[in-house]
Subunit: 414 residues, 2 copies
């Protein structure tokens, strides 16, 4: 992509209403634009990042034999009355058609996926069944001031699993947990797993996957010596108490952002929608359900909160909108112009995804500042000085190297 | 994908409430499930088709240098008041937050894309600018009874172009028209281009891309001797009149379904949102806008309306959920089972997308009927009879051939 043509260039000034790092940097670097609080347009660079994160999630979901479907956003009121969500869930957006039909906007999809499964499973042999979707969700948040960390509309992966026994749910939970941690790791994030209350969903325990960041809305207590971690909302412990699990260290407290969660839904929804199947001993049972979320747009925000410096963003490789950022210096000189164009073309032919700053009337300093702000992991420079080589620099390092085109291509797949 | 594991198997009976071929076949074959009138869940097979159609559209949009973005579904009331759409557009879904903020659900995005562009273009040199998105749209339809042809929520590509002159809009319209016809052709559809009224959008003329099908909601007059085609809604002609263009043939009448449209929006939205740029002669001008839609979920429905027989669907190659449908016959025999599994594995390793009917307890007749109903273009059979070959049959032909695995793989890319 030629930067001169790119829609959504960097802005000279950060947005005035930005109170969080992700809102400020993503807006200034040309990734998103806020339409109103909690509602954002994704510009070309931003959509590429969002799509990359979704791709990582999708790849890992498919590896655990979850099947992708796509459920509607408009839900009939009747389904939400059956589960009592219509009156109990305060963040549920509701609307009426002109013929006074009432709908909810999807904020979670138990009310759709459970009746969908009804009639399509009849015995324990049909289970476990894991269905997921990657779709937009809508929540009537009272406050939506954390950039894309907490949106009134947000992009999410939600998976629903159906099991004949609690043991099978627990078995699958362990698989999902591993997969979640792998997903976050691929995206440069280390998540702590807490036990928390089930919110409106369930009386049962739920699990939260929290990435430590000062912009987070959750507060957790955690132990440095073991995996123990708990949300302060439900903790019977406090900062400085001895770890309840390993008893080796004193608990620390930190802010974090929830990037994923798992709810043990028990039989609630299968009872609500009257789903029975034949169990292993021939008896009629209600299946047990689990719900597993990953906030995709939120992860994009959390990455920015974690990976930034005074100059801009530093994208992890799997999330970056382009693999390399090629900067041409001195493009008013015909020879350098054609050499830089040629480098761009050759790298494209090698399937390297390149953002190419081809602007003629912009100073080197401004181009380098834009490259740092945008945050692609590798910056390449072609100029009078670089001869038949290319200057190669990683976003998080000071050091530059002079490499041949072939050497640059090899670096992509390191 | 192993059919035994697939969520969304074929149904023995068509749905009772289906009045259109696409609703009936897509439901019975396991592609979609209606949640309520005009609102559908896409099951794994259906989502693959929808994704394929979107991929074709995206590829062609990128070729004409349109840039993909993603705009929100929740729109602030203020934007729709500026354009008068809030009170004038009867299909606009409206909702309120619990703090009485009012929103519209996106049914078209001029109200978002125009202010988005403001401040990011300042001179004619920044134009033409073409932005598109592929996203769900919401329309409060009074009647939504045509399966996925007319949904209350539907998947759509919408592109917006900005120009400094009417001539440049016209130049780009011709490019877009060619691209649209190419997209439809890749998806097995031949569209006629009509001129029609601009609906609520514009006083200006608009263009509709209509595929002839009895399930369509539009009626058009067309000429067999030339490209002349007009929607009866605005035609001053009638069935049997001499073609107004070539004067060679009498006009025919047919039903059709609109799969795409183009609106010449003129300066309306740029005036509404007060966008001025510097024109070629240094004067201040309002840019001219065009809007270009393609109904992706609708195309999926139209394909089914066009390509079906008494046994089921016949997918075009670019839309089909899988490239080949492998049927194992006699899988209770260990040798045949392992030979069929081996064939499946080898074809997968050759990157052939395969739906593999691995069911043991189902008769050959039922498997063949399911394959015809699902409508993948190629059916492969491995059985006792096929020896070290594979029986190859195309969905729209009676003839079967015995091919080696290598020969089967070669057929994929014909």
């Amino acid at each position: 992509m030629k930067y001169s043509k790119l829609f959504g260039k960097t802005l000279r000034q950060p947005p005035k209403d930005a109170t969080t790092v992700n809102h400020r940097l993503l807006t200034q670097a040309g990734y998103v634009e806020q339409l109103m609080a909690g509602v954002y347009t994704y510009l070309p660079l931003g959509l590429r990042v969002l799509t990359n994160i979704a791709r990582v999630v999708r790849e890992e979901m498919n590896l655990i034999d979850a099947q992708e479907i796509l459920m509607p956003t408009l839900h009939p009121k009747a389904n939400w009355e059956i589960t009592k969500g219509w009156s109990n869930i305060d963040v549920l957006f509701k609307l009426k058609s002109r013929t006074d039909k009432e709908y909810a906007l999807g904020q979670s999809e138990e009310e759709v996926v459970t009746p969908l499964v009804k009639g399509r499973i009849s015995t324990y042999k049909d289970l476990p069944l894991c269905l997921y979707q990657i779709h937009w969700k809508y929540r009537d948040e009272l406050r939506a001031k954390s950039g894309i960390l907490r949106g009134r509309e947000f992009f999410m992966k939600d998976l629903y699993s159906f099991h004949d026994t609690q043991e099978d749910f627990q078995r699958f939970y362990e698989i999902a947990k591993k997969t979640y941690l792998k997903i976050f790791k691929r995206l440069g994030l280390t998540a702590k797993v807490t036990e928390a209350s089930g919110g409106g969903f369930s009386e049962k325990i739920s699990y939260e996957f929290i990435v430590l960041t000062d912009a987070g809305e959750d507060t957790i207590l955690y132990c440095d010596s073991c995996d123990f971690c708990v949300n302060v909302d439900i903790a019977k412990l406090k900062l400085g108490d001895l770890c309840a699990s390993c008893k080796k260290s004193k608990l620390k407290q930190a802010k974090g952002s929830e990037v994923g969660n798992v709810f043990d839904l028990g039989q609630k929804y299968c009872k609500d929608f009257d789903i029975t199947i034949t169990g292993r001993d021939g008896e009629k049972i209600h299946p047990i359900m689990g719900c597993y979320g990953i906030g995709i747009s939120r992860i994009m925000g959390v990455i920015v909160e974690k990976y930034n410096d005074k100059n801009g963003i530093l994208w992890p490789k799997e999330a970056t909108p382009y693999q390399m950022h090629l900067v041409g210096i001195g493009l008013d000189n015909k020879d350098i112009l054609s050499k830089t164009h040629e480098t761009y073309r050759k790298l494209q032919n090698k399937n390297v995804e390149i953002l190419y700053d081809d602007r003629v009337d912009v100073s080197p300093g401004e181009k380098f500042a834009d490259a740092d702000l945008i945050g692609i992991p590798v910056r390449l420079v072609v100029s009078k000085k670089t001869g038949d080589k290319i200057e190669y620099k990683e976003r998080d390092k000071e050091k530059t190297e002079m490499l041949s085109l072939e050497e640059v291509v090899k670096k992509v797949h390191v």
